[in-house]
Amino acid sequence: MDSILFIQLLNGLQLGILLFLLSAGLTLTFGIMDFVNLAHGSFYMLGAFFCASLTLATGSFWLGALLALPLTAIAGFVVEKLVIQHLYRRDHLEHVLATFGLILCIDTLTHLYWGPEGIAVPLPAVLNGQIELFEGVVFPTFRLLIIGTGCIVALGLYLLVNHTRVGMLIRAGASNRTMVSALGIDIKALFSAVFALGATLAGVAGMLIAPITEASIGMGNDIIITTFVVIIIGGIGSMKGAFLAALLIGMIDTIGRSFLDDFFKVLMSSEAAETAAPAVSAMLIYILMAIVLAVRPQGLFPPSSR
């Protein structure tokens, strides 16, 4: 039982890391441009599809993922230039509608180019096995890679935002845009770069999940809502909040799905538990969100500058 719990905790950590990669991009675009991007999940999907195609074309997952990175960034950059740029001054409702339109477009273009079927991504032998972490506990190597990559990206993002000149501009842009542009910073370029960075982060998440689930149309639309739950609980616009909330949600969702029926069986008849547990575990993170909001409407770690 203990080793199962441990493995589920690792699975939860892995889901949390993925959610963090997604919510980091949303947090950046919201924190700095005050922009709500429903189409964020589309970059997650694009990352997965780019990686899948390139892996199949080059025969190497590493090369595929490496080449997919700049492609996703370019996709983000182009979308920002074509559509997003014109929306910054509009209100949130219009952001939501326009990016909803973007989702329809990107999903259909993906369908046109890659066809309706999902694409499975083959892994190199090194990553495809399992590792015995310690006596009696084995865990898939690739999931460990996801956790490792996520931690490296989180650290890199922390260093970028807090200890570089670009990061300083990002933080300054978040607290006072007018002042930053008055000081001679090209705010348009900064916005484009930040949007492309956010898209790339989502793309990385897509590349990491593609070998497990395969790249499929609409994969982004399911996870985007969970990502929203993460940033609502964390406090919208707060990177620290996004990180902690992502781990929390990852854990709770995974643990709920694996152990809730056992827990319910203690409380009620096993037949009732088997009906109720899936429904409740599917709703668990939303219930958590409702509780957090009822106590703290601004989220757990709201950014201080807003």
Binding site: F30, V36, L38, V83, H86, L87, Y88, R89, R90, D91, H92, L93, E94, V96, L97, A98, F100, G101, L102, I103, L104, C105, D107, T108, L109, H111, L112, N176, R177, T178, S181, I187, N221, I225, F228, V229, I231, I232, I236, T275, P278, A279, S281, A282, M283, Y286, I287, M289, A290, L293, A294, P297, Q298
Partner: protein
């Protein structure tokens, strides 16, 4: 605008029955769906247009209303759950309204504590919560959906007759429009609009905006749940897919496309939406692409929606100032309270 609305309602009253009697049953189907979705859109407009509350989870009510028909019929046919098993339409209607009201009250009480983006995302998340809950209910088909074997039974009206069903839907639309018209001109409605335009002032004169918003939110949810009840009876096949968040986006698009804050705006929006959807999907299976592009274009260029463009055509505008004036009256399509804080946007 008023005359246009009357003409629109007359068209909706005459065209579908004539199409049906002359043997074009397909158009009857299309219009029934249109009218039901128009009811949902009008309900959303009550809080979105008049209340400034951008709810992105209204498809959940459609689903709740539809399952309020589906589940009792399922149990009446296959046994179990005697307390709700019934073919009686009044039972279905009662459940639909009660469930939507309770759901709206609980989620509204929580989500209305927040503003702006948080509110959009939270309503979305709650909608998705119901979606996943229904998906996980294997008894009622889960992902695969549920077929409604018998339509709701009412004394004196047979819903299996498409003409009668359309009559019920159309009558409901007219009633709901009248209701929203009365609400928006009542003291309650004016308070709601005041809270949208300037919450601080409303608070300063002693109005508790939260209670007004919550009431409006519940009314809107109940009407939408009623639309779901009609939808369930119309399609006779229901699945969680009808309450996916993208469906909520479509209802919202109808409201904005037609023009929020215009009484008949959502009806125009639903009409254009359904007809476009039909025409484009006839041309190509990839109809989502032109549809998405049109959506983006309408956001970028068509402010105030079609109703706004009709009542104040671009070629009639003398100068920018009059266009601006019309913008402020229609800018309600969103978080109007945000305006003063957005001065730093001029970058």
């Amino acid at each position: 605008m008023r005359w246009f609305s009357i003409v629109l309602l007359l068209i909706l009253a005459i065209v579908p029955p004539v199409a049906f009697i002359t043997g074009h049953a397909f158009w009857m189907d299309l219009f029934t769906r249109l009218v039901v979705l128009a009811i949902a859109a009008v309900a959303l407009n009550l809080i979105l247009g008049y209340g400034g509350l951008v709810s992105f989870g209204h498809a959940a009510y459609l689903g709740l209303g539809a399952y309020a028909v589906g589940i009792p019929v399922y149990h009446a046919t296959y046994g179990g759950f005697d307390s709700i098993a019934s073919y009686n339409g009044f039972v279905h209607l009662g459940i639909a309204i009660a469930v939507s009201a309770v759901y709206a009250l609980v989620t509204g009480a929580i989500s209305l504590r927040t503003r702006g983006v948080n509110f959009i995302m939270i309503t979305m998340a709650f909608g998705q919560m119901i979606f996943y809950a229904i998906v996980s209910l294997e008894t009622y088909g889960g992902d695969d959906g549920l077929t409604i074997d018998v339509r709701s039974e009412f004394p004196g009206i047979n819903l299996d007759n498409p003409l009668a069903l359309y009559g019920l839907c159309y009558g409901s639309l007219v009633l709901v429009l009248y209701l929203v018209y009365r609400i928006s001109n009542s003291r309650f409605g004016l308070t709601l609009q005041g809270a949208r335009s300037n919450e601080e002032r409303m608070r300063a004169i002693g109005v508790d905006c939260y209670r007004y918003r919550l009431t409006a939110y519940v009314i809107s949810g109940v009407i939408c749940g009623y639309a779901g009840f009609l939808l369930g009876n119309f399609t006779t096949f229901i699945s969680p897919e009808m309450m996916d968040w993208t469906r909520s986006g479509e209802i919202m698009f109808m409201v904005i496309l037609g023009g929020a804050t215009y009484l008949c705006g959502p009806v125009i929006g639903a009409l254009v939406f359904i007809l476009l959807e039909h025409l484009l999907s006839e041309i190509t299976v990839y109809w989502h692409l032109p549809f998405g592009l049109l959506l983006i274009a309408s956001v970028l260029f068509l402010r105030g929606g079609l109703a706004g463009a009709l009542s104040n055509p671009p070629w009639f505008r003398k100068d920018r100032s009059s266009a601006l004036a019309s913008d402020t009256s229609t800018a309600a399509s969103g978080t109007a309270t945000k305006a003063p804080t957005r001065a730093d946007d001029d970058v």
